[in-house]
């Protein structure tokens, strides 16, 4: 069956490439958008105690929502296709990145911050030279979680016409053609594992030497 799947892939390279391309671009875009929103927001909330707790609570609720439900809810509101899928996936990626950004900053030893301020660093200096470098490992752990969620969620985008590798899986199930299913299932699993490994490596690379 694996052989059949491989043969199918070789026989339909363009189709596969397109699905793969859509899947990757959906995932990357969603993660990028989520980061653009969640990291600055997280840095903002991290400095306000009440705001931080509220933000974390809301994000925690967001985290529990079934991905399929989020994608499905996008359909009546935004229709089908790439855009609704992108919006839904961005929402799915937001919670882990937001929570980790807030926690990463708040976890920093308050004495370090006190010393930094006492020495005459401005708020921006403290953020740039102290808080961000020290929070980076935790933020990247959040990005890692978000990446896996998004790659996994993008599989479900097939249900709202978003394309991606999920198309092969659903087609395969519908036609009971198992090789076709594998053409979708195996590459996307590899993609997910790869994303996890990639962000894990990035996290290690970006951790300041003094903290390792």
């Amino acid at each position: 069956m694996l052989v059949e799947a491989w043969l199918y892939l070789l026989g339909h390279p363009a189709q596969f490439a397109k699905a793969l391309g859509v899947h990757v671009s959906l995932s990357l875009s969603a993660l990028a958008l989520a980061s653009l929103i969640a990291v600055p927001a997280g840095l903002h909330f991290a400095h306000r105690r009440a705001g931080a707790l509220a933000a974390i609570n809301v994000a925690n609720i967001g985290r529990t929502l079934p991905s399929l439900a989020v994608l499905a809810l996008a359909m009546p509101l935004l229709g089908t296709g790439f855009l609704p899928s992108l919006v839904a996936l961005t929402l799915i990626a937001l919670p882990p990145v937001l929570i980790n950004t807030i926690v990463g900053v708040r976890e920093i030893d308050p004495d370090v911050i006190d010393a930094a301020r006492g020495m005459g660093m401005s708020g921006r200096d403290v953020l740039r030279r102290i808080e961000l470098p020290l929070a980076v490992p935790v933020i990247f752990a959040g990005l890692r979680t978000g990446a896996v969620q998004v790659v996994s969620g993008a599989v479900l985008a097939t249900f709202i016409g978003g394309g991606g590798l999920g198309d092969f899986i659903t087609a395969g199930i519908a036609m009971m053609a198992l090789p076709l299913m594998l053409v979708g299932a195996i590459p996307v699993t590899l993609l997910s594992i790869g994303a996890d490994a990639l962000f894990g490596a990035l996290q290690r690379q970006l951790t300041p030497r003094g903290l390792q």
Binding site: L68, A69, A72, F159, M181, I186, T189, A195
Partner: protein, 207 residues
Amino acid sequence: MSWFARNWEQVAVALYEHVLIALTALAIAAAISLVLGVWAARRPRVFAATLAVTGALYTIPTLAFLALLIPVVGLGKANVIIAMVAFSLVIMTRNVATGIRDVPGDMVEAAKGMGMSARQLLARVELPLALPVIIAGLRIAAVTVISVTTVGAYVNAGGLGTLIFDGIATDNPPNIWAGALTACALAVVADLALARLEDVLRRRRRA
């Protein structure tokens, strides 16, 4: 909303199916993970291997996992339950093992010194103290399981996902709302309830 009034039975049935599947999977996973977790807690190498497997299995996308199971178990509830047991097992075993390992060494020493057997130690000291961490794992597993069950409708397992898929197929938004929002509500309620339980247990442990 009038749709809801007319079709609430359908929603109720779907919800019931959903909860049933989820609870079955969780119960099986909990039972197995308790045994495995206790076993892994005592053996550092097994523990390390468990952590590694946890990380790997958890990254497999849900639908892909269900699809990969079809050649093995076909469609239907069994498929979804196996997938969910697999995911939950992986999380809960790790949490059981971690929870037991995190029990302060001096408490274990004291208990042994009082003459407790290994089984008594486990039942009266280690498991109760590990409970908050175990519940934390149960919480993540529950949310995962509810999510997987939602997708599981696609492989004929039933549950709230059927409402969602029907709604998409017939372009009937109220159907989608009913399925999706109920699934979300279920997940949030389960998470909050278990979070509360975890909180209570942590506070009791400290006292």
